[in-house]
Each structure stands twice: as C-alpha cells, then as structure tokens.
C-alpha cells in the first residue's frame, strides 16, 4: 500500500486552486482564438479580443480571470492501493481549497441557501468544495479540478425525456436551454451534455464532460457526430459573445453517455462560461 502525506495533498490542492484562477488553460485560449477568426460580428469580435487580453493580464499579473472565482468542484479517482496518512483525503481537499482561495485573494462565494449568509466564517472560506469520488485500481490519486462560476450554473438544466424522443429530442432540449440562457452564462460557452444513467448520473456526467479540454474530439464516433450537430445548431441561434449577437455562441459541445433504464432517457445540460478554468494533477 502506497502512502501519501495529508500535507502533500493540501499543498498540491492549494497550488492548483491559485494557478487555475489566474491561468486560462491553453485549450480554452486556442478555442477563443479560433472563434475570433471565425466570428462574423464586429461587436462579438471585440468582446473576444477583450477576453484574450484579459487572459494575458490575469496570467502576467496573477490576477483572477473573473471576480466569480467559483465553487471548487473536484472529480477524484482514488487508487485502491493508496492510503492518505495524517488525515482524510476529503479533509485535505477542503483544507487545500480554503488555503488556495484565501492566499490567492479569491472570492469566498459559498452561502446559506435561505439566509444567504456567507459561510466563510462558519464553515470555511469558500467551503465546502464539491467533491465526486471514484475508486479505481492502482496506487495513484488523480484529481480533476474546475472553478465553477454561478452565472453559467444558473442556466443549466436536467430533464428525463421519453425514450421515443431519441437523439432529436436531445438536440432540441440542448438548443432550448442555450436559447433561453441568451447572454447570461457569458458566451461563447462550452456545453456539457450528460445522457443516460439515472437523473443524478446524467447531471454528474454533464458536469464531468466540461472537464475535457475544450474542443478535443470525442473518441466515440457516434457521440462525436452528435456533438458536431448540436454545435452547429446552437451556433445558428445568433446569441454570440456576451449575447450581443454573433455566430459563435458555443465553442464546443462535450457529451458523456451512460446506459440507462428501459423506461427513460435522462439528459442534463451543464453550461460553462468562456472562462473554462480547469486543470488536473496526479499524486
């Protein structure tokens, strides 16, 4: 059994949080550069230029890309042959998150649902993190992280379609979600689509789909084709960067599919703003 020190995980998570808040990943930058080339609207082009300039300033001056530094979301694959010593893995991730948000001068955005009171003093600075664990063979801990802002979560939706709705039903539902959202989720967006499983499995899959590098192709040819069809369809909506009108409403569509119940076709659409702040480490 391999042993990993609690404090090593805390430090790794802290650094991951700080660098992800100020560095737009290369895949997202490339996707924005491509959108700038292809966009037809001058107003939207100017928005995309500002986003690229913003990414440059954020990196050079170590300033958060956006004031909404998000809730911390993790997908963690824990090897069956690795053990954390000195504390629990969950506590280490939360402690690293709190330190990263505090020391990186990031915003504490967790609050009570009803009183809306910020939880920074009662629970912890921007705590709790949202963590999805999975057990896998091996002796490594793989951690995927994203800072997920509120504006794009607010317009995300899940629905269980009748099986007869099929692929067309999925295309129509994604289009409806994006159309209703308009400029609110800060387009150009990435669209995570979770298909199948149960109600919550579809939602978690749609979130995980957003962790894939923006614009990389789906290895499953059938899903790849569906991604391209949906992308084309949503870009016909005309919403454009920041909703000011244009041909690039979405940068990419990412789909994850699971087997589902014979009676259902669950679909979840999770929207990611243009500032797709994600990264991963293996410990």
């Amino acid at each position: 059994m391999r042993e990993v020190a609690y404090s090593d995980i805390v430090n790794a998570i802290k650094n991951l949080i700080i660098t992800t808040a100020t560095n737009l990943p290369e895949d997202t930058i490339k996707a924005l550069e491509k959108a700038l080339e292809e966009e037809k609207s001058e107003v939207a082009k100017e928005v995309i230029r500002q986003l690229l300039e913003n990414a440059k300033i954020a990196k050079e001056e170590e300033r958060p890309l956006c004031q909404d530094t998000g809730l911390a979301v993790f997908f963690v694959k824990v090897g069956e042959d690795v053990k954390v010593v000195g504390g629990s893995l969950k506590d280490a991730i939360n402690e690293g998150t709190e330190l990263g948000y505090k020391e990186g001068y990031l915003r504490a955005s967790t609050c009570d649902c009803f009183t809306r009171e910020n939880l920074k003093d009662k629970v912890g600075y921007n705590l709790p993190a949202v963590i999805h664990f999975d057990l896998v063979p091996g002796d490594k801990i793989e951690i995927e992280y994203a800072a997920k802002g509120g504006g794009s979560e607010n317009v995300s939706r899940a629905k269980v379609l009748p099986p007869a709705a099929g692929k067309q039903g999925i295309i129509d539902f994604v289009k409806e979600v994006v159309s209703d959202a308009g400029g609110n989720p800060c387009p150009p967006i990435t669209i995570g689509v979770g298909i199948g499983g149960t109600f919550e499995k579809a939602a978690i899959s749609s979130k995980h789909a957003l962790f894939r590098d923006v614009g990389t192709r789906n290895p499953d040819p059938e899903l790849d084709e569906l991604e391209q069809i949906i992308l084309q369809e949503v870009n016909k909506l005309g919403i454009g960067a920041m909703g000011m009108g244009g041909t690039k409403t979405a940068l990419a569509v990412h789909i994850e599919k699971n087997p589902c119940h014979i009676a259902s076709l669950p679909v979840s659409v999770n929207i990611q703003c243009h500032s797709s702040r994600h990264s991963h480490i293996t410990i």
């Binding site: 107003v43 004031q67 802002g149 009108g245």
Partner: protein
Amino acid sequence: MATYHLKTPLSLEDVKKLKAGDVVYLTGTIYTARDAAHKRLVDLIEKNEKLPFELEGSVIYFVGPTPPKPGEPIGSAGPTTSYRMDSYSPTLLKHGLRGMIGKGKRSKEVIEACKEYGGVYFGATGGAGALLGKKIKSAKVIAYPELGPEAIRELEVEDFPVTVINDTYGNDLYQMGREKYEVKN
C-alpha cells in the same frame, strides 16, 4: 456604431445621444451595488431618507469584486448578471440614476424606465475581471460594509469600456444582435 468618451456624472443630454451598440469609455466616479444593496437603497427612497450617494446623474456597477491584493485598490471586478436587480432599477431610474453597468438581459419594466426617465443600461464584458479591475483607480466602501463583496463602493474609473445595450429609445442590443445573426432552419 459610434464610440464616446464620457465623464460621470452623466447628464440627460449625454445619455440621449447614445444608441444601442455604441461603445462608451467612462471616466469618473461610479458606484457598486448588487441585490442586497439595491434593496436597501429602494427602502431608503420609500422612507424618504437620504441615500449614501447622490443618485442624480449617477452610474451603478453591478459587481462583487475579489478581495484586493495588498497595495491594490480592488481585485478582479467584472459585471454580474443584471436581472437580479430588475425589480429595483426602475425606482432608482425614476429618482435620477442615469446609467447601469452589468451583463445579461433586463426586464421590460427596466427597458421602459430607461425610456421614460432617460437612463442607459451598459454591458461590460463578463469574465474580463482582470482587465476591468485595472480600469479602476481607487475604491472605497461608503455604505453597508457588513455586506462584504456586496457593500456599496465608490470607484474612480478611467476609460472603463462598456457597450450600450438598452438606450433611451427602447432599443435592445441583445435582441437586435441576435436577430441579425440568427439562422432559421
């Protein structure tokens, strides 16, 4: 699509010349407020009490910035989604508010109030918080410090870049832009 450089406070004449789609660079004092602060401002108006800043000609920026690093006036400071302020904005426009900066669609009531009282809704680029934060030269909390990121701050901005979304003539850039680029199947 014209470009203007305007100084705050804004006059009725200033905003009357703006049309949806115009680019404006704002310089001068603006105020920050989000949902909680808006509620308090409207409560004060209803009670006929004095507001923490002069509303006539003012511009309110919907923002909840990140904490400043030592020695800096403010952290990252991009716009937040504006619809949450929709129920409060018409009252403020009626009492002299001249400009609002945010992102995303406004309600019919806000668009109507812009027309009736002479106000403009500007869009700033969401997610460009680092770039926009640099246009803010100073910041001080002038009311409701207990609200944290939602406190009212007085900001001095220089060439703060915004686009006119809703003008004083009832135009809406979100609708106009989308209609122009929508491809119907």
